[in-house]
Amino acid sequence: MKRVLGCTAALLMAASTAHADVPESDEPIKFMIGDWTSIALQGEIMQIILQTYGYNTESVVADDSGRYPGFEAGDLHIAMETWETTQKQNLAKSLETGKVLDMGETGLKGLEDWWYPSYMKEQCPGLPNWEALRECGELFSTADTAPKGRYVGGPVTWGGLDEERIEALGLPFEVIHPGTDAAMFAELKAAYEREAPIILWVWEPHWAPSLYDGEFIEFPAYEDACYEDPSWGVNPDKIADCGKPRGWIKKMAWAGGEEVWPCAYEMVRNYGMDNATLSALLAEVDLEGRDMTEVATEWLTENRSTWEPWTSCAQ
C-alpha cells in the first residue's frame, strides 16, 4: 500500500509545481473522520491533495453529532461531510459561536426516506407509490405490531417526523426506533436473506442501497411548507404529509484555521463531488473490501483535470 502511495505521490508532485508560500504552516490539519465510510473516503481524498502541496494532515475519529465542541475548541479542523438531513440544527448552533466556518456544499445530495427491497413489490403491487402502504400494513406486521406494519425508523435523535407522517397520511404502521444505524441494517440484512417483508429508513450515499436491490417510497415531494404549515398537502390539518427533505452535504471547518492555512482552506472550499462518483468509490471500499487510501489515490491520478483547478492558490 505504501509503495502504491509513494509512486502516485511522485506522479502528483511532478504534475504540480508548488507555490513558494505553500504550506503556510507545518501544524497538522486535523480531519474529522466519523464512523461511516463516505466521510473517511472524502477525507482521505482531500488529505492526499493537501499533502501533495506539502501540508501536514491527520485523521481524528469523532462522533457525528459529538463533533462540535471539538471544532469550536480547535481540536478538529476540517470535516468533509455535514448532512442537512441530520445535522442542520447542530451546525447552525455551532456557527453562531463564530468559531466554526461553513465551507460550502460538496455537491452531494443526501437522500433519505422509507425504503423496501424490490421483492416486496410482488406482494404489494402499488409500490413505490405511498398510497399502496395504506393497504399493505398487515404485510409488514410482526406479532408485536399486528395488525399494524412494522417500520424501522432511525434512532430517536435523528428526528425525521415519521410518527407525524404516519398520522398525517393515515398509514397503518408503527415506528420502531433502534439505538444505532448498525442495528437497522442488521434487521435489513436478516430480512433480505430470507426475502421477508421489511420497510425501513435508508439513505444515500450509503453501501446498503447499492448492495441490496430496492426502492424508496414515493411520498409527496418535500417542501419547507409541508413541515411548517398544516394546510399544505393532502392532509389539511396536519404537518409532515410528505416525504423527507433531501439536502445538501456541507464541509465545515474550525474558524481559526483560516489564519493558519488560508490556501488549504481555499482548496477545501473548492472541493466538489457527486453522488454517482462517490457511490462507485464507496462500493470499491465497502463491498470489494479495497484499501481506502488505494481507492482514493487511484481516483486522484485518473481525474487530475477534476481536482487540479481546486488548488489554483498553490500554483
Binding site: A9, D75, T157, D181, A190, E193
Partner: protein, 655 residues
C-alpha cells in the same frame, strides 16, 4: 429489586405486621389520593440537568483557577498523558518517519512482530513456565496470523499506558484511604458512584476538558477501571495480619518502610485481584475508547460491524480478548511470584538481559527478512466468511422458531411486566423500596435508598428508570438462573476450571457489539435483543461466584455429610448452599452491577430506558442530561447494592 427481597427470612411476625401496615399506608393514598402521588408533577421535577450542564460547560470553557484557565490546564494534562502513548505507539506499531505528506518514508521501523512475540514468550516462560509461555505465544500468534497485528499494537500501546496509570493511581488512592478513615469514607462514596456511572455519561465532559484523541480516551478508561483497583488495595491492606505489622514495628520500621517492606508485599495477592479487574475493564473499554479517538482494534471492530461484517468484527474482538488474557495471565503470574517472595530471584537480572538480547537479534533478522518485520498481507488467514455464513444460516433456518419464541415471550411475559412497572405510582415505588430496606437493614438503609430514588424522581427520569428496572430484572434473573447452576456444575469438574475461566474472560472482554448485531438479526430491534445482550454480559460474574462459592465449604462439613449418608443433592442443598450464601450474595451484587453497566450499550439496539437517555444526550452533545441520566443509573445500582449488602449482613449474623 424484586429478586432481592427473598433474602430476609428472619423478619419476625411483629415486624412483618408493622411493615405490612406501612405498605398499606403507601398504597392506599397512592391509589385514592391526588394525582401527583402517581405521576411526578412539575413542581417535583427540577431542571437539574440544565444546571449541571451549564456549570460544566462554564467550568471547561471559562473557569480560571489562580489566573490560569481550566481549559489550558486540562489540555496540558492531556499533552502530558499523550507523550507516553505516542512513545509506546512508535515503539510497538508505527516506528519513526522522515519527510512529510506523500514523501513520508519510514526511517526507523517499529519493533517487529517476531521481536515482541518472542519477548512475551520469554517473559511468560520465566514467570509462569511452559503453559503460560504457550498461552502468550498462541494469543499473540493469533494476532499475527489473522493480520490484526498493527491495530493490536496500537491498542496495546494505549492499554499498557492506561493500566500502568490505573495501577499507580489506584495504589496511591488505596494507600491514602487505608491510612485515614475520613479519606476512606469519601473515597468509597466516590468510587461507588464512579463504578456504577455508565461511561457514556462522562464521555462528553471528558471531551470538553481534554479534547479529542488518545488522551481523552485514556482518561475515560482510567476513570472506569480505577474503582476495583482502589477497593481491592484497601481491602488487601486491611487484610494484612496484625502480628505482621507489629513485627515490623518491633524491628523498628519507619512508616514508609512498614508500607513498602511489610504491608504491600503481604497484600500483593489481594492487590492482584484488583489488577485483574482493572485489566479486564480497561480492555472492555477499548471499543468505547476508539469512538473518541483511540483507534486500534476497537476501531476495527466498529467499522466491520457498521458494514455488518460480523466475522471480521468477531476476529478483531477476539484479538481484544487475546490481549486481555495474555496481560492478565502474565500479571497474575508476576504477582504470584512476588507474593511468594521470589522477587529477588537470581534469574531476574538475566531475564531482562535475555529479553533485550532477543530484541536486538530479532530486529537484526527483521532488517534482512521482510516477513519477519511485517507479516505479509497475503499470508493472513481469516475465518470471517465462515462466521458470516453461520449467522446467515441461522437466520434462514432458525428464524421462524426464534420469531415465535420472541413473540411469545414479548407479548406474554415482558410486556405485562413492563406495563405493570410503568403503571406503578412513583410514591408506591419509593415507599415499597424504603419499607423493604427498613425490614432488611433498618432506618439508615431505608433513608439512603429513599433518598437515591427521590433523586430520580426529582430529576424527571422516573419513567425511563422504571423501564431500566424492567430490563434489568429480567436479565439479572435469567443470568442468575443459568449462571449459578452452571457455576456449581463447573466447580465439581476441576478439569474444566481453566477452559471455564477462559470462557468467562472472553464473555467479559469480547466487545458486546459483536454479539449484539447477530442478536438483532435473529431477534429484531427491541427489548428481547437488549435483554440477551445484558444477560450474556452479566452471566459471567454469576458463573464465577457460583463456582467460588460452592467450592468454599470447609472440608470437615463435607466429610460429616458423607458420614451421615447424605446424597449428592442433599449435600448440595443442606451443606454446600448454606455455606455459599455470603459469596452468592456477592455474586448477585456483581451480576447486577455488570448488568447496569451494560444498560447504555443495550440501548444501541433500541430501548426506552435510562440508557437511551444517556445515548440521546451523547448524540446531541447535551452535557447535563447525559451525566444526570447516568447518575440515575448509578442511583438504581446503589440502591440494589445497599439492599444486597444489608441482606448479606443478615445472612452472616443469622446463618
Amino acid at each position: 429489586m424484586a429478586d432481592t427481597t427473598g433474602a430476609s427470612p428472619s423478619v419476625g411476625l411483629g415486624t412483618g405486621l408493622v411493615l405490612g401496615l406501612a405498605a398499606l399506608f403507601v398504597v392506599v393514598p397512592a391509589l385514592l389520593g391526588p394525582d401527583w402521588l402517581r405521576v411526578p408533577p412539575d413542581w417535583l421535577v427540577w431542571p437539574v440537568s440544565d444546571i449541571v450542564g451549564d456549570s460544566l460547560t462554564w467550568f471547561a470553557r471559562e473557569a480560571q483557577i489562580a489566573g490560569m484557565a481550566v481549559q489550558d490546564m486540562t489540555r496540558g494534562m492531556a499533552a502530558v498523558v499523550n507523550a507516553p502513548i505516542e512513545g509506546a505507539v512508535i515503539a510497538l506499531s508505527e516506528g519513526l518517519f522522515s519527510g512529510r505528506g506523500l514523501n513520508r518514508t519510514q526511517s526507523v521501523p517499529p519493533l517487529s512482530w517476531m521481536a515482541i512475540v518472542g519477548a512475551a514468550a520469554i517473559v511468560a516462560y520465566r514467570l509462569g513456565g511452559r503453559s503460560l509461555c504457550l498461552t502468550a505465544t498462541i494469543g499473540l500468534g493469533f494476532l499475527v496470523v489473522f493480520g490484526l497485528w498493527a491495530q493490536a499494537m496500537v491498542t496495546l500501546a494505549s492499554v499498557l499506558v492506561s493500566i500502568v496509570l490505573t495501577c499507580a493511581l489506584g495504589l496511591a488512592i488505596g494507600i491514602w484511604s487505608f491510612r485515614s478513615a475520613r479519606v476512606e469514607a469519601v473515597v468509597r462514596g466516590i468510587m461507588n458512584v464512579m463504578q456504577t456511572l455508565p461511561i457514556f455519561a462522562y464521555l462528553i465532559p471528558t471531551l470538553l476538558l481534554f479534547g479529542y484523541g488518545p488522551a481523552a480516551a485514556l482518561i475515560a478508561t482510567v476513570a472506569y477501571a480505577l474503582p476495583p483497583m482502589v477497593h481491592n488495595t484497601v481491602l488487601a491492606l486491611k487484610g494484612v495480619p496484625d502480628e505482621l505489622v507489629e513485627c515490623g514495628h518491633v524491628s523498628g520500621c519507619t512508616d514508609r518502610q512498614l508500607l513498602w517492606l511489610v504491608q504491600l508485599p503481604a497484600s500483593l495477592a489481594g492487590i492482584a485481584v484488583g489488577l485483574n479487574q482493572a485489566i479486564m475493564m480497561t480492555l472492555n473499554m477499548v471499543i468505547i475508547a476508539s469512538m473518541i479517538g483511540a483507534g486500534g482494534l476497537g476501531f476495527e471492530v466498529l467499522t466491520a460491524l457498521r458494514k455488518l461484517d460480523i466475522g471480521v468484527g468477531l476476529e478483531a474482538g477476539m484479538g481484544i480478548v487475546a490481549l486481555a488474557v495474555i496481560l492478565d495471565r502474565i500479571s497474575q503470574a508476576w504477582a504470584r511470584r512476588a507474593a511468594e517472595g521470589r522477587r529477588r530471584h537470581p534469574g531476574q537480572r538475566s531475564l531482562w538481559l535475555l529479553v533485550l538480547g532477543w530484541l536486538v537479534v530479532a530486529t537484526m533478522i527483521a532488517h534482512v527478512v521482510e516477513p519477519a518485520q511485517t507479516w505479509p498481507k497475503d499470508w493472513a488467514i481469516s475465518t470471517a466468511s465462515f462466521w458470516n455464513g453461520l449467522v446467515s444460516w441461522m437466520n434462514r433456518e432458525l428464524y421462524d422458531a426464534l420469531e415465535a419464541f420472541r413473540a411469545f415471550v414479548l407479548l406474554n411475559i415482558m410486556r405485562p411486566f413492563r406495563d405493570a412497572l410503568a403503571m406503578m405510582p412513583w410514591s408506591v415505588g419509593v415507599g415499597f423500596v424504603a419499607i423493604i430496606a427498613y425490614g432488611i437493614g433498618g432506618a439508615r438503609v431505608a433513608l439512603y435508598c429513599a433518598a437515591l430514588l427521590m433523586f430520580i424522581v426529582v430529576t424527571g427520569f422516573w419513567a425511563p428508570a422504571m423501564n431500566s428496572i424492567y430490563l434489568m430484572t429480567i436479565a439479572v434473573f435469567l443470568a442468575l438462573l443459568f449462571g449459578f447452576p452452571l457455576g456449581f456444575w463447573l466447580a465439581s469438574r476441576p478439569s474444566l476450571r481453566n477452559p471455564a475461566n477462559l470462557m468467562l474472560d472472553t464473555l467479559q472482554t469480547l466487545p458486546t457489539l459483536v454479539y449484539l448485531l447477530p442478536a438483532v438479526m435473529l431477534f429484531r430491534i427491541g427489548d428481547v435483543s437488549a435483554i440477551i445482550a445484558i444477560f450474556l454480559y452479566a452471566i459471567a460474574p454469576a458463573i464465577r461466584y457460583g463456582m467460588i462459592g460452592i467450592s468454599q465449604v470447609p472440608p470437615a462439613r463435607l466429610e460429616a455429610a458423607a458420614i451421615t449418608g447424605c446424597t449428592r443433592w442433599q449435600t448440595l442443598l443442606f451443606i454446600r448452599l448454606p455455606a455459599a450464601v455470603p459469596t452468592l450474595l456477592l455474586g448477585i451484587n456483581q451480576t447486577i452491577m455488570m448488568a447496569f453497566s451494560m444498560l447504555v450499550i443495550a440501548a444501541l439496539v433500541g430501548t426506552k430506558d435510562l440508557g437511551q437517555q444517556v445515548l440521546i444526550a451523547l448524540n446531541r452533545s447535551i452535557v447535563g442530561q447525559g451525566i444526570v441520566a447516568g447518575l440515575c443509573v448509578a442511583a438504581l445500582a446503589l440502591v440494589a447494592d445497599a439492599l444486597l449488602k444489608a441482606a448479606a449482613k443478615r445472612a452472616e449474623v443469622a446463618p
